[in-house]
Amino acid sequence: MVENRPWLTFFSHAVLVAGVLLVAFPVYVTFVASTHTLEAIMQVPMPLLPGDKLVENYTQVLTAGSTRGSKAAVSVMLVNSTVMALVIPLGKITISILSAFAIVYFRFPLRMFIFWMIFVTLMLPVEVRIIPTFKVIADLGMLNSYAGLTVPLIASATATFLFRQFFMTVPDELAEAARVDGATPMRFFRDVLLPLSKTTMAALFVIQFIYGWNQYLWPLLITTEESMYTTVIGIKRMITGSDAINEWNLIMATAMLAMLPPALVVLLMQKWFVKGLVETEK
């Protein structure tokens, strides 16, 4: 609005500031808690200014986890989470874009049936098929492995559907022009469709990176060895039982570490992400 109404401006800013505080305050408390000794944060009221144990606490969790709960080093978990959060989106994008390409640009028997089969699985979340999936992964001996962590989460109806919708907006003439130019279907895919899908892929990557990073139930089921824990699982394993014996300062430090990478990915890819959601380059 370009109206000059000081009170309205003040009011809208006040609402925005309140909103930011509401969201940011818990994160701030997490940060503060991660910089104190356990004794300090157990006081009532808990301190609201950062303490002097920042380096100590973070070094402790990164190298040796907590002292009373899980002793797995968080640095290893960060690597595991990163692998998982990278393999899932990359795998999803590769598989989905190829299946969408097949469904949109080729005529083959049962094409629509297959598309609907993919589409129907959209309605089934991981949790519904988690027991059979676990059984399959266990029988294949993929427990406690990167393959076990990532493969079952790679197949994606959502991404296939998204690429399909995008390909349908690409004018048919483009494919025909490429055909007249002598491009084979895969060449057309590589030279024309892939570059045009860049922003869509970027948006999907951001969403799926966060999806992969935040996975909880699946890694909880299939990782039993400390060396395969992901960060989110690490937090869970540090919480041992009753409130009093949990080292909340170390747990909060781990939580901070778990929050950073997704935030960074969103921050760095924000331009691409927004482009992918709102703009199509045609």
């Binding site: 025909e176 022009a177 007249v180 002598g182 024309v192």
Partner: protein, 331 residues
Amino acid sequence: MASVSLRDVRKSYTADLQVIHGVSMEIKDGEFIVILGPSGCGKSTLLRMVAGLETITGGEIAIGGRVVNNLEPKDRDIAMVFQNYALYPHMSVYDNMAYGLRIRGLPKAEIDSRVQKAAGILELARFLERKPRALSGGQRQRVAMGRAIVREPKVFLFDEPLSNLDAKLRVQMRGELQALHRRLGTTSLFVTHDQVEAMTLAQRMIVMNAGRAEQIGAPLEVYAKPATTFVAGFIGSPPMNLIPREGRLMGIRPEHLEPCAESEAMLTVEVDLIEPLGADTLVYGHLGGDGARVAARLHASVDARTGKLPLRYDPAQVHWFDPASGRRLEA
């Protein structure tokens, strides 16, 4: 460069849905042929069959004496210009033109010289590094033509290439297309629904209606001697007047009607609509007797008014058609 033969070409999508009912034509080497017809008459389908983008249900298409029915578009030695240009949006103008040549594996130097030459002909040299989105409609159109030219094909296929341009640009591009054809002399097939484009560009034209070639001939020949009532009504603006007379249809073009004294009137029109165009004035109305709708093109000096208007014509300018079949009857 090559001749193109269409021999009883047919297309059907299902057993009941036939869209091209046997079109035959011999196109000479270097000829500029326009396929003209209303929307849905099958003209684009026919062109796409020549291009290889649609399969041929029946008949034969030969380019340069070689039957191409089962060849991929890339093996037919043709180049096509699409209505919406179909430029690759992420490639520069240069890459758009060079893409087909790169796929063919031509040497870099050869590609460069061909692209530069085409860019010179089409005055695109300044835009080679730009993306299509940074070009105007006319420039995009030229890039699409450039992409066709660099291939040095035997046949150019144009699918309504000018219909996305504004009126002024269309006239300009029409001129450029003519100049281009004079310069390259490549056999060209040009699809349009615009009769002015057809009349000005064509050496010969095919007028199509509902999947059939109604008439094939030079533009003025088609204008002067329409073979059917469809052609008579489709070519010319306003179209030829068709007036029932003695069990036949009499056709007379609006410009062949002139006002006269009431005593020598051959037709009397009850004028209800007047369109002054500057150079001349169009008047429309019903005939007194049988009520047929008639248009006349009058010189601007005539003071056109609504009401009774007596008209006469030169009987030599009259065409006769059979009302049942719509075919021309030679007097």
